[in-house]
């Protein structure tokens, strides 16, 4: 647990506050992360110096705004090692990226008899769009099961082999589960999918800001992520798509900026990525995301990921000593991303979170946009603690202390 990390806390102004009379211990990073001063300032500076619409402008501000926006695109391509900037589409977030693929690619390419494979641990954002498009096209949605009564066994890779027939046109799966902390073998799944001719859509919401991502090495066809989950502003996200695919996809939205020719009777589209960016883009937040990528890579994403994983492992072990606790996802000692989900036999997650908040500890309680998995596990909800680079072992102490207090309060300790 490198001490470098506690030095980074000062970069995040929001952490310097008290909640309920206690210093804030923010452990809701899987929902959204905080922004370093460098990102907040990059957004403000854009508005103070370069603010303008992009693309069609020939005046100084407009050229600067265009340069800033396109530099963010090139930076994003480097961030995930895309072969070409044209493979980077800016969206409003992971959810929009998945919907774009569902409506721009799947709606045109799926038909009755085709299968989309998803996993039982998918976030609603990488599940509901496939439900919708399967309903629209007559294709069938199937799920790769999750193993173990606490989902500790991860994806059932044998079941995957069986499910992967020639009918499968797309495998949509999350790189890291926001509910379980499971890290899925993305490259392996992509290779298996490719072997039967299926495309892959990887939900990178929980991985992009936490490890070095290389979409070419991973071998995925689409990869989606959100800025706000990796130290960047809200309202900006990314869809990576292989160029051959993007160039043949239908636009999802019509409007300014995505057309090459408009006549009153019909229109023609620009190539990717512009084809998928109708309307004035979120320039300021793209510039802010650029700053976030620089920030994260200056710390080093592999180091960040290791730091979080160490905190999560510590939290898992310490929490497992509490009476009546049920911990989800990988067992102690198994690889786990930077989060821990758990439930108490006698205290509901809502009460846990409300109580912890009074101790200054920010947690998330609920289904974490993963209702069907909760249902399968027989849990109405869980409490989740999720870590990021600015968290410390002391934050784990605060979490465990708060949990002990609530168990006592409810007479369950």
């Amino acid at each position: 647990m490198s001490s470098d990390f506690s030095n980074l806390r000062v970069d995040f102004p929001v952490l310097d506050q008290h909640v309920g009379g206690h210093p804030l211990v923010y452990l809701d990073n899987a929902a959204t992360t905080h922004k370093p001063r460098a990102v907040i300032d990059a957004v403000a500076r854009f508005y103070e110096r370069d603010n303008s619409n992009v693309h069609r402008g020939l005046h100084a501000l407009s050229m600067r705004a265009t340069d800033g926006y396109e530099a963010a695109r090139a930076r994003t391509a480097r961030f995930i090692n895309a072969a070409d900037s044209a493979e980077i589409v800016f969206t409003s977030g992971t959810t929009a990226s998945v919907n774009l693929v569902a409506q721009g690619w799947a709606r045109d390419n799926l038909k009755s008899g085709d299968v989309v494979l998803c996993t039982e641990m998918e976030h609603h954002s990488n599940m509901v769009p496939w439900q919708i498009v399967c309903q629209q096209t007559g294709a069938t949605l199937k799920y790769i099961p999750v193993l173990g009564e606490d989902a500790e066994g991860g994806l059932d890779m044998e079941a995957l082999d069986q499910l992967l027939t020639e009918q499968v046109k797309l495998v949509a799966f999350t790189h890291i589960s926001n509910t379980l902390g499971t890290i899925n073998p993305a490259a392996e799944i992509c290779a298996k999918a490719r072997a039967v001719g299926a495309l892959t859509m990887v939900d990178g919401a929980q991985s992009a800001g936490h490890e070095d991502v290389d979409v070419q090495a991973m071998g995925c066809d689409f990869y989606a992520f959100s800025g706000h989950k990796m130290a960047a502003p809200t309202g900006i996200g990314v869809l990576y798509g292989r160029r051959e695919l993007l160039d043949h996809m239908s636009p999802w939205q019509g409007g300014g900026g995505m057309i090459s020719v408009v006549r009153y009777d019909a229109s023609e589209w620009k190539p990717a990525p512009e084809r998928f960016e109708a309307g004035t883009p979120n320039v300021a937040d793209a510039v802010g995301m650029h700053a976030a990528m620089d920030y994260l890579d200056s710390v080093g994403r592999p180091k960040i990921g290791q730091h979080e994983a160490e905190l999560a492992a510590l939290a898992y072990d310490r929490l497992s000593e509490l009476p009546g606790i049920r911990l989800l996802g990988p067992r102690s000692g198994e690889p786990r991303a930077g989060l821990v989900s758990f439930a108490f036999a006698d205290v509901h997650a809502h009460d846990v979170v409300t109580f912890a908040d009074q101790d200054g500890v920010a947690l998330r309680g609920g289904h974490h946009c993963n209702q069907p998995l909760m249902h399968k596990l027989g849990l109405p909800s869980t409490t989740r603690a999720s870590f990021y680079l600015y968290n410390t072992p002391e934050d784990v102490d605060a979490l465990v202390t708060s949990m002990r207090r609530i168990l006592n309060f409810f007479g369950a300790g």
Binding site: G20, V347, H348, A349, H350, D351, T354, F355, Q358, G365, G366, H367, Q371, M374, L379, P380, S381, F409, F410, G411
Partner: protein, 145 residues
Amino acid sequence: MSDLTDLYQAVILDHNKRPRNRGKLPQATRVASGDNPTCGDNCTVYLKMEGEKIGEISFEGSGCAISQASASLMTTQLQGKTLAEAESEFDEFKNIVTTGEEPADFSEVAAFAGVHAFPARIKCATLSWHAAIDALNKPDQPVEN
């Protein structure tokens, strides 16, 4: 912590630990459910009417301490009430949980005044009440249990 003990008053902890009228009602003539899917809370209310009045009432479901205690207390409050009376009790309850004003007459529902400081929890407190009013508004009919 003052807010918290306001929220989790003894009355609430007690109803949460030892819920009254919990379980299915074998001869129920009306039933309605509600849920708060974002939390996973759910609640089903069973009524056996005696004319215009609630003869027997029970609830089932799962949720946080606030929602469980509120459901339990609700059943004790609405027993013997007509629809009109139940609606006016619910109005009073909603007023308590949204404003924090404690009712003039000393009553257990006053324990829920602390909820108003936790707006995200108001839905937990009112879930079972909504189900009860829904059930009251239905016609009598045999309920499959």
